[in-house]
């Protein structure tokens, strides 16, 4: 094994992969949330559609998107593998575990939260990404992304799925954000409290904004 594969397959290396891809996905979320928030201009999706247009037309963004896809796949695959291998480290389970005495629920449930997010992601990609990237282009663009959203979120079940997805995301982030700093070795008595509060705000704010989108469209506040 070369030193690279050896390092990345070690327990620390695999966590590093989770942390690095996690941080890049967090950055993606920031961009994603920023652009989507343009629907709140409530201008019939004009600004939003323009931004979406720009994103899909820019070759730099399209290249980064490949990286993003890779990031998702690695984060998910590594996460699932870690989840499985960690579980095997305790073949006989405890009869009673009082986890709440020593750790947060989110931190103990990253695997479950991640899996929920994975299901959500598949639905989400089917709803918008595939539509916008493939269907639209292939068909020559009969509809806009904004219109697609309005259509999707007219369905209450979709709204509920999205809200659940956002809640999972919030919990996933509430642990993942600060945890990735720790994994990368960035723990310092001076800065860690700051990282933690930024992480907490981020993990509440971003999913909240995301959740506001389907809800506001469903109730027609955005049209």
């Amino acid at each position: 094994m070369s030193w690279v594969t050896k390092t990345l397959s070690s327990s620390l290396g695999r966590k590093l992969i989770m942390a690095v891809t996690g941080i890049s996905l967090i950055l993606f979320l920031l961009v994603h949330c920023g652009i989507n928030s343009m629907i709140f201009f409530n201008d019939g999706g004009e600004t939003f559609n323009a931004a979406a247009e720009f994103m899909s037309g820019n070759w730099l963004i399209r290249t980064a998107e490949v990286g993003l896809m890779a990031g998702f796949i690695i984060h998910i695959a590594d996460g699932l593998m870690l989840w499985k291998s960690n579980a095997e480290k305790r073949p006989v389970k405890y009869a009673i575990v009082k986890g709440e005495a020593n750790s947060s629920w989110a931190s103990r449930s990253m695997g479950i939260l991640g899996s929920l997010l994975l299901i959500f992601l598949v639905i989400h990609l089917r709803h918008f990404w595939i539509t916008s990237r493939f269907t639209d282009e292939i068909t020559g663009g009969h509809t806009t992304l904004f219109a697609e959203m309005i259509e999707t979120f007219a369905n209450p079940i979709a709204v509920i799925i999205y809200v659940i997805g956002c809640i999972s995301l919030a919990y996933h982030l509430s642990h993942g954000f600060q945890s990735s700093f720790q994994t990368m070795g960035w723990n310092h008595p001076k800065y860690t409290p700051f990282v933690k509060s930024v992480g907490l705000s981020f993990s509440i704010l971003i999913p909240l904004i995301f959740a506001a989108m389907p809800i506001s469209m469903y109730f027609g506040w955005i049209a």
């Binding site: 620390l12 480290k89 009673i96 575990v97 020593n102 750790s103 947060s104 931190s107 720790q182």
Partner: protein, 248 residues
């Protein structure tokens, strides 16, 4: 007080185990948890039964031998306390107490509540030392060490190797244990010569032993009877990444 105990009984590493219920009466709140077990065992012996095997030695919270998973927590309720220092005043009359051994693939059961923690020794053997043969040392005061560093090194070195971190961790990770030693020696000038090699080797050994990875739940830190900090794991991560990037 009177208590009901649900204790894991397992004859040896290869046999199946199960919970057994025992009722104990007249327990004083001044007893330590292990003294309560002494009472139970004395009774079991008198009744011709096999007493419960458990590890213990110093009974003052420093040898790290005692290791009971009590009501879902290693060393039971209470902060910074080992099983031997846990006193019965932490429980109420009529309580049911479930006692299990440390459970981890890397800590096979020896008998009942006693487990084999020799994996920890092998992790230390892999690099948890300074290679200085007896007689090689220079004068103790020849290298001043900033008090902060010395204090941090001491706090990391206070680890008693009990394994509560592994027992508490959802992943049975031994990172708090391993990182405490790596940190102690990384913080001291004496540890510098072997710093990179130490991090690489100890992490590799930790993985070989079959401990899990860290998901930063912080359970290890919360349950550590010596309050070893999660900062040590972050430091170990830095040490390790630095080591693999810089070593030849």
């Amino acid at each position: 007080m009177n208590l009901s105990l649900k204790i894991w009984r397992q004859k040896n590493a290869n046999s199946e185990g199960k919970f057994q219920q025992y009722d104990v009466q007249g327990i004083s709140e001044d007893m330590s948890f292990l003294e309560m077990f002494d009472v139970l065992n004395e009774r079991l012996i008198n009744e011709g039964d096999t007493p419960v095997a458990f590890d213990h030695d110093c009974r003052e919270g420093i040898c790290g031998m005692c290791s009971m998973y009590i009501n879902g927590q290693p060393h039971g309720p209470g902060k910074n306390v080992t099983t031997c220092q846990l006193h019965m005043r932490s429980f109420k009359d009529g309580d049911t107490i479930t006692v299990e051994p440390w459970r981890a693939k890397a800590f096979p059961i020896v008998k009942d509540l006693a487990v084999n923690r020799s994996a920890f020794d092998r992790i230390i053997s892999a690099g948890g030392y300074v290679s200085v043969n007896t007689g090689n040392a220079q004068d103790a005061n020849s290298l001043p060490i900033a008090k902060d560093n010395a204090d941090d090194a001491f706090m990391a070195a206070a680890c008693i190797g009990c394994g509560a971190c592994v027992a508490a961790c959802v992943n049975s990770s031994a990172m708090l244990f391993t990182s405490a030693k790596i940190s102690q020696l990384a913080l001291l000038p004496q540890g510098q010569a072997e710093r990179a090699m130490r991090a690489e080797k100890m992490v590799a050994q930790m993985d070989t032993e079959g401990f899990g990875a860290c998901s930063v739940t912080g359970a290890c830190e919360a349950e550590c009877p010596k309050g070893i900090s999660l900062e040590n794991i972050a430091r170990m991560n830095r040490e390790y990444y630095g080591a693999v990037l810089s070593s030849k």
